[in-house]
Structure formats: C-alpha cells, structure tokens
Symmetry: C2
Subunit: 322 residues, 2 copies
C-alpha cells in the first residue's frame, strides 16, 4: 500500500497518490523511474545514483557536525565481522532469520567441474559452499564491542565511538525503506548507566532537532527489536517495559506504518557482560547507541520534498550542502 | 617476509627492517600497534581508524578530480549483488575459490533451538543455512553490466561509469594488502574496441602520474587474474598473450612481490556478449575498466611515507588534502 497523503501541501513536489493509490506507481517504482535507485532483480538490493549518494554523503557530514564537539573516536569496519565474535554477541538468539553468513567454495578441480555443471543446468550449486569465518555485519556497532573490550577496562568517564558501515538483514521487501543492504551511522557510548543514559537523552534531542530541521514530520516512539518466534515476543515486551529502545519515525511508505529513521538503544550491561567490558571502577560497563539509517533518512527526504533535489526547500538544501 | 628496503632515505619515516627482518615486527603488526588497522581475529578482515579512512577518502576525491572532466555517470552498488547475475557473469568459471555467497537461516522455532544448541556446544550451526539471492560483490563493476544492458543499446560514443564498493575475496592472508573485504574504485568504459582501448591508455597515463605524484615507486606490468586450477593456467596465459591486463605495482609487503594498486583491464566482448550489450551500430559492445585498490594505495603510502600522516611529505599531503 502506498497511501501517504501530502502532509504539507508546499512539500508535495513529488506526486503523492490519494484515492487512486491502487493504480498509481509505488514509491519504489518512482524511485526506479527517476533513476535514484537501480534495479538488481533482488528485492531490497539496489544500486544508488550519484544524486542519491550525494544526499547520503551530506547526511553523514551533518551527523558528524552534530557530534563534532564530543570527541568520538572514529572507527570504520567493513561490511562483515568475525564469525566467532558474531556467535558470542547473542544476535543469533534474537534474530537468526536476519543474519547472513558468508560461504565459499573449498573444493578441488573435480568439485569445480560439478559446480559449473550445476550452474549450467540451473540446479543448486550452493550446497557445497562452506561457511567462512565471516558473517555480514547486522548493525554497525557489533564489531566494536569485542574490539573495545580487548583494550582493557574503560578509562574514567568511559568512551565514545563514531561508526558507519553497510549492514545486512535478510528481509527481502518491496518497501524501499527495508533494504537487505543499507548503511547505518552510529555513535556508541560505553560507561556507567548514568553516562550512557545521558548520551541517549542528548541524541534524542539532537536527532529530533536534526530531522525537524530537515522538514520531516516525525514522532518519537517506544519500540522493540524484531525478535524471532514466540519466545521473541517476551523479549520484545521486556524491551518495551524497560524503555530500552526508542525510534524516530517518519511516514515514508505510509502514514499508518511510519519508518524508523533513527533509533536510540540502551543495552544495559548486555554487551558489557558478553565481552567482559568493565568501567574504570571495575563494574561491568553499560552501553548505548544512536543509529541513523542513512538510506531511510534519504528516502524520507525524497518522499517529503520530491524526487528532484534541486527543488528541495532552500533551508533543507542549505542544511545539507551549506 | 617483510624485507622492504628504504627506497628513498628521505621517505623512511617508518622504520623499515633491513637485515634484522626476521625479528622485526611485520608491517601488519606495526599497523595494528599504530592503531591504523584494528584486529578482528580474522586474517584479512580489519577495522580502520579515522586516520586510515581520511587517506581512503582523500584518494577517492583525488580519483574523482582526475576523472572529473569525463562526464562519468556515478553509480554506487552495495557490497552484494544478485546471485542470478553473478552466476551468469562467468566469475565462477575462473574464480570459484574467491567468491562469497550469503546464506541465511530459514527454519522454524525447533530449528532455531537446534541452531542455538550447536552454537552453545561449539559445533557447526551453519550447515542448515540456505543460500540467499545475494553474492558478495567480487569487483565493483560486476553489478554494473546487467544494469547497463537493461537500458538497451549504448548511445553513439558509448558510456562511462564511476563506481566504488566494498568487494569480497576469500583469500585469508597475513599480508595487509590482501584483505578479504576492501574497497575498489572503478571507472568502466563501454563502447567500440577503439573507444575502450583509448580509455585504458588514458588511465594508464593518469594512474601512473597520480601514483608518481604521491611519491610512490612504481612499475607497470603485464598481468593476469588468479584463475583457479590447471585450466586456469591456460586462461591466464591467454590473458597475458593478448595484453588484456596491466597492473601498476608498488612494493609494500616486499620488493620481490610488489602489490598491484591499480589495474587496467580490457575485457574485449566478454561482458558485452554475456549480457547482450550492444553498441549503437548493433555490434556487440567491448568494455574496459580501471580499478583502484583504495586500501592498497593507502597501505603503499603508509609504507613509503611512514605511519604518521602529519609527517608525510608536504607535496603528498597537499595533493591529498589540498
């Protein structure tokens, strides 16, 4: 369903379908037609045009400016992480269905001939692929925790990191905001409960101000992660009851199901305990992160200000490109 | 072996081991110790510091400036591509051992319980992972060809594209220049044989000038891809005999085995035929690409100018950061 009404008549540079929604091209189709996203034949896997990337890059710089005074340590991980670290992280307990393991051919020349025969015949050639030591990164901060823990106890006052990477989630979808491969920018705070909660409050403020300044209608809502199965329902309820996760939502695909563009997560001592990460005083460290969905914010801007970047409101353009 | 002599005494800001090489820390160790690369526990999979990334970003911008007048269409693909497109590309014929397929859990709650029991027991939980529709991108240009072919015949004069993405090759190594996940910047030319060969000549010149301007010792050599198996030897010989691939090599890990930092590839009609890509006159299109290994060039700079970016020669710093 593609039924976002024009929330602001002045911002309806892009034609937003009303009652004729059923016949109108979807937002995804219009992104393809405008050349902003590029089809690959796989739902949720798209190429990006130079114009699309110019927005992603501008957002990345804007987020750097917002956090620029905080002295975060910049670290950039590739789109995959160590499988042993991934296994230990606990991700498989909550989200086995979203993870992507990387597999490779480890056979000899006869195996290779069989593989090519399968490809030729259109039958399954992937069964013999063996798992490598690499799993695709599910969220930009997952490779960070073991790295930080390896340095020893946190210094007095804790630590702050600045991350960005491509992430993978296996959830093929026709909603352009639900990509299988997308970029997440993050700030991650490690320290005492008070320090990390103050960090989360700060970024709830900053993130809300940033998105309002970009002319986007938004709501901050209590949220939960998409845990797997029936047991996952309980985990999701716990997460909500403890106010651990907030999301900043913007209507993109529809008003009824707005899109989480930023998320603010308090992990309590989950990663501290998992990785043996301690505060300067020896207590287990608490952690929190703020995550920015760079493609999602870009899509929100395209939805609300139209597909032609040159026609975006002057103040939005000025915020992004100075 | 880590035996690079100081090729230019003025550029030996970084201690380069001489006869005491056997006892000296490796280049990789020194990169870890300086915090430029970050251990993940997997050979060839590393985090990057902010300083390392500042070089990668500067190189990316420098390459954009060099090609800025050519009117290339910017396109950015995520680090994975469509599996059907990958199968059709022919990559599995030459390089089955380097490819990385992405697999996911597709079971129910009972399967999930078994998976977690395997993880807990330290036994293999990956066997039941099923191949998704995504394969990790082996070279930045692989997702481009089907995309370009879907547009129909090339216009008069052909097309030129500007690409960059993380790529994957399953070749765990302790040489820092042989990463499993790394970024490749590319320009890709599609057109007549004359057009694409002229493009390759132009970039052989530009690339050589660029690298010399960065104070790097270099050699341009005829090369071949690392084809698999005995049949691959013949493919490699053919590639050499036809002068299809050149590499711009810089000593990084050693003088004896210099590192290919740029590569210049003429594919003849391989991709044109594979994807039904034709020239404006109906003839099958030829293609060529120039690829820049962004981490490799960064490592070459660190090796030759030292691990402290602030101490790099003024002209190199000025070329990179203006």
């Amino acid at each position: 369903m593609d039924s976002l009404p024009a929330l602001d008549p002045d911002a309806s540079a892009e034609a937003i379908p009303g009652s004729a929604a059923a016949e109108a091209p979807t937002f995804l189709d219009r992104l393809f037609d405008a050349g902003l996203l590029v089809r690959t034949g796989v739902d949720g896997l798209y190429g990006r045009s130079g114009a699309f990337e110019s927005v992603v890059d501008a957002l990345d710089r804007l987020i750097s400016r917002l956090g620029g005074e905080d002295g975060a340590e910049v670290m950039r991980f590739p789109p995959g992480m160590s499988r042993p670290a991934f296994e230990r992280s606990g991700y498989l307990k909550g989200f086995p269905h979203l993870a992507g393991t990387v597999h490779s051919f480890c056979g000899n020349e006869a195996d290779h001939a069989r593989l090519l025969a399968c490809v030729e015949a259109g039958t399954d050639w992937t069964e013999k692929q063996a798992a490598t030591d690499i799993v695709l990164t599910p969220a930009a901060c997952y490779p960070l925790y073991p790295t930080a823990a390896a340095r020893g106890p946190l210094p007095e006052g804790g630590l702050l990191f600045d991350l960005q990477s491509y992430c993978f989630r296996h959830e093929p979808s026709l909603e352009p905001t639900r990509m299988q491969m997308f970029r997440m920018r993050e700030y991650v705070r490690m320290g005492s409960p008070e320090e990390v909660l103050a960090f989360r409050e700060l970024w709830l403020d900053r993130g809300t101000t940033m998105m309002a300044g970009l002319g986007l209608p938004l709501a901050v809502d209590l949220a939960n992660d998409p845990f797997f199965g029936r047991a996952g329902k309980m985990l999701a309820n716990n997460q909500r009851n403890q106010n651990l996760k907030f999301e900043l939502n913007v209507p993109v695909n529809s008003v009824e199901k707005p899109t989480a563009c930023l998320s603010f997560n308090y992990h309590q001592d989950h990663f501290g305990t998992t990785w043996g990460l301690t505060q300067a005083d020896g207590n287990v460290a608490h952690t929190a992160c703020v995550g920015f969905g760079l493609e999602r914010i870009t899509l929100a801007l395209l939805r609300h200000h139209g597909l032609d970047l040159a026609q975006w409101p002057a103040d939005v353009r000025s915020t992004l490109w100075g």
